[in-house]
Symmetry: C2
Subunit: 155 residues, 2 copies
DNA sequence: GCGAAACCTGACTGATTTGTCAAGTTTCTT
DNA sequence: AAGAAACTTGACAAATCAGTCAGGTTTCGC
């Protein structure tokens, strides 16, 4: 269970965009410079994020990338899903790679409670806006406490 | 941010061991049969878990594997760490693969709040015992609510 | 118009992760 | 003591992921 490189670097790019004044696009080259990444890699990440509807590109000489919504309206959950995905219902027993014809647990999956945990984590991330990462760490902590108290697992 | 194959299958093996009567080892062959995995792969997973101190092997003709502690005393967090690890403090800025000599955020890392989130998730998993996955899903839900209320991020 | 600056895209290479194989060592049963 | 059942281990092949490259298309400023 790890945060992938793609998620980390993609998020860094988004944080750069989030610090930009409204409506002023930032170039790939500039983001790459600030984050110490190659321009090609930043392009790939931003392309992924644009496909997911999180960023918007402006072509042409004075173009670049913007967030498509305000940092308050973009959640960490969305970002994680755009950049590599999370465990999801669909892939649980279908993508089973074992020897049997299908997952032996298909009728009474002993791991279903684990997926429940995963969904819980995901719903927690859905409640944390990108803007939370712009502020101090205490802010994030308060947000987490909030989700901890209020969220329920959907039965 | 995903649960890896190794984590999933390793956990399945542990769940098989957890259902075994105390002190009766289960053979690799039998676990493999029940889970529809190859014996070689199950061996590899159990070897990893033994190294982490979660399982114990009994050699010889009537041997096999047991849990080294009761399912109540083994947490999901430990299991995840044994089977592929979680993000950890040490690897955050050190393993940075960018072009710069070191992470450009080393002094004021914009992602630190994200690691805080990761640690929070990890501490939540540390509070869920393996035994919780043996019971019904409502049980897991109650456990999660408990951790949601009681845990604090360590500052 | 035309060239420079910027985004767009798919193919490709290297690294990591998955899962297998094969040749051990240990222990029990008879 | 011999053989079978079981764990041990390191090397390997296949699949997936990270990151690069090259050659596009679009737009702006002059």
């Amino acid at each position: 269970m790890r945060i992938t490189a793609q998620e980390e670097y993609g998020l860094r790019c988004l944080l750069q965009l989030a610090q930009q004044p409204e409506g002023e696009p930032l170039t790939v080259r500039e983001i790459a410079r600030r984050e110490g990444l190659s321009a090609a890699y930043v392009e790939k990440l931003l392309h992924l994020l644009s496909r997911a509807g999180l960023t918007r590109s402006v072509r042409g000489q004075s173009g670049g990338y913007c967030l498509s919504r305000s940092p308050q309206q973009i959640s960490l959950g969305e970002i994680i899903r755009a950049l590599g995905g999370f465990v999801s219902d669909a892939e649980i027993c279908n993508q089973f790679t074992g020897n049997l014809d299908c997952c032996v647990h298909v009728n009474n999956c002993g791991l279903r409670p684990l997926w429940r945990v995963a969904f819980y984590i995901q719903s927690m991330l859905d409640r944390i806006p990108l803007s939370a990462l712009l502020h101090d760490e205490q802010k994030v902590e308060r947000d987490l406490m909030e989700t901890g108290r209020s969220s329920r697992l959907i039965v």
